[in-house]
Amino acid sequence: MKTNYFNSAILFRWLNYIFLALCAAATVFPFLNIIAVSFSDSRAISAGEVFLWPIEFNWDAYRNLIDDGQLIVAMKNTVLMTVVGTLLNMVFTILAAYPLSKSRLRGRSIMLQAVLFTMLFGGGMIPHFLLINSLGLVNTYWAIWLPALISVYNMFVMKSFFEGIPAELEESASIDGANEWVLLLKIIIPLSMPVIAALTLFYAVGWWNSYMNVLIYIRSTDKMSLMVKLYQMIDLVSPEMLRSGEGVTEQTLTPEGIRAAAIVFSIIPILSVYPFLQKYFVKGVLLGSVKG
């Protein structure tokens, strides 16, 4: 009886290991496939031969993208959007979270409710658009940055972290005459680096991937973000995706190859920092789940 249980447990464990390995492989396979496609010869791509390894390795698709230059401009724009946007996010999130973490603050609960309400009920896409339009912000990055200054969820994560900092630490400094600005800069922020790191990453990934707002508010092509540019490139070749591959084989470059190269180009920054930063992401999620 005992040995029987033991054997089935070992069998379960090995099946489980294999199954999970298959899940992980299935998760990353599409990325490996697209990388392989981006380096492959157009003939092999059209024939659907590329699996995990490039066939007839070449850089043509990338050379084409770099010569074209539009994606580079879009990447520069996205870097700007990400850096400024994330900075603004962090400043405003801290400015909101710090006072609201003080239970002695009069009016705190009303303010918290007012903030929470915006999470449950919001003006739709059109009223937002008309507001931005009437403020004259259309086709500027402020139309992207300003409406997204604070993520209410992230603000609550930061607030609950601040609430966990022992009050005595501030108490001694405030007896020495330091005001709240000094307390915030000298004591609270240095103690909050884990949450600041995690939220900075969440905001930054959000900006890097931001798409819908740019689509709605940015009109000039030279201000487009990477993701919108990518979508436009894809949209242009989309009829081919649904039809059979006739007519594309004579060209030296296939739309599929260029598309694959553009995709790899746009995810490299995230994939290259991911291994070093992923523990902060996980920490951030867990910080958010520990409430009150």
């Binding site: 006072p99 239970s103 603050l105 003006g123 991937n209």
Partner: protein, 322 residues
């Protein structure tokens, strides 16, 4: 954890409160002037970008024209709602929105739970960490990229999936152009993006389960499956409840970006959802009032839903969202 300390009165704040005579608001404002000062830009932000658009919802009841402004446009009463509810397109986008979310609830919601249970059984920590890191990756990639990869992989002529099907003698399937396959591809790609990352909260909940419960179950002769059923699942019940509320609250709202990148003219009948409809009709075709009416209807239903699900979860004995 340290967060629980915030529940207890903090000595410093108590001391400060005692130092200030309870003589009204003015003293409080003077004492905390810097805190209020910090909140000024925050308040401006919320009033301007979160509350002002609520005023803009009025145009759902008006015939809004850009030149007349919100207040200057003529009143339309409920005309836009009447037009909306009597149109066929309204039922199509409502049906698609609800169906795609329902598929997600039924097929995608349980996946991270199952994955987390399986990952939790992995005893070899290095292996577990590698698996987790790989499974989280798609969460950080935008829908534009993921949607494009999905379209490329499912392409009937050059996609790897059809190449593999061909090996088994199966005719190429036009996944993205078929009203039957499109929703399946949609839900499948959603699982690909979020299932791995979704395990984090469940894994954390499982780490919090008292190990003696497993010991007791083992002594009672429970095998692995029964341990999972009687110990692990009850341990993650409240986490699952919270995630479920959030999902039901969003049932009127299919993510714009996923649909927008994956849809194409061949599948509009099953792929057009409220957000993409509002975008094309409102932003691109300038039917502001009509689409605002739809947006307002969507927001109100979503609010009612999330409030009632939260209440229901509390009646069932779990901790709600608020």
């Amino acid at each position: 954890m340290r967060h629980s300390e915030s529940l207890h009165p903090q000595p410093a704040e108590a001391a400060l409160a005692a130092a200030v005579p309870k003589r009204g608001l003015k003293r409080h404002i003077i004492r905390d002037k810097y805190l209020y000062l910090m909140l000024v830009p925050v308040a401006v932000y919320f009033l301007l970008f979160k509350y002002a658009p609520l005023y803009g919802e009025i145009i759902a009841f008006k015939n809004y024209r850009l030149t007349d402004g919100i207040w200057g446009s003529s009143w339309a009463g409920l005309d836009h709602f009447r037009q909306l509810f009597s149109s066929k397109e309204f039922y199509v986008v409502m049906r698609n929105t609800l169906l795609l979310n329902l598929y997600n609830l039924v097929f995608a919601f349980p996946v991270p739970i199952v994955l987390a249970i399986l990952l939790n059984e992995v005893r070899w920590n290095g292996y577990k960490r590698v698996l987790q890191n790989l499974l989280y990756i798609p969460h950080f990639i935008s829908w534009v990229v993921l949607g494009t990869i999905v379209i490329a992989m499912l392409s009937p002529s050059t996609g790897i999936v059809n190449t593999i099907l061909e090996l088994f003698g199966i005719e190429p399937i036009y996944f993205m152009a078929s009203p039957f396959w499109w929703p399946i591809s949609f839900v499948g790609s959603g699982i690909w993006k979020e299932a791995g990352f979704g395990t984090i909260l469940y894994m954390a909940a499982m780490a919090g389960i008292d190990p003696t419960l497993y010991e007791a179950a083992k002594i009672d002769g429970a095998n692995k499956l029964r341990q999972i059923w009687h110990v692990t699942l009850p341990g993650i019940r409240s986490t699952a409840a919270i995630i479920l509320i959030l999902q039901v609250g969003r049932i009127m709202d299919v993510g714009f970006e996923q649909v927008f990148t994956m849809k194409n003219p061949a599948v509009t009948q099953v792929a057009e959802v409220i957000s993409t409809f509002v975008y094309t009709r409102g932003i691109e075709n300038l039917q502001y009032s009509y689409t605002t009416a739809l947006g307002l209807f969507q927001s109100i239903v979503a609010l009612i839903l999330i409030v009632s699900v939260n209440k229901l979860i509390k009646i069932m004995g779990e901790r709600g969202l608020w």
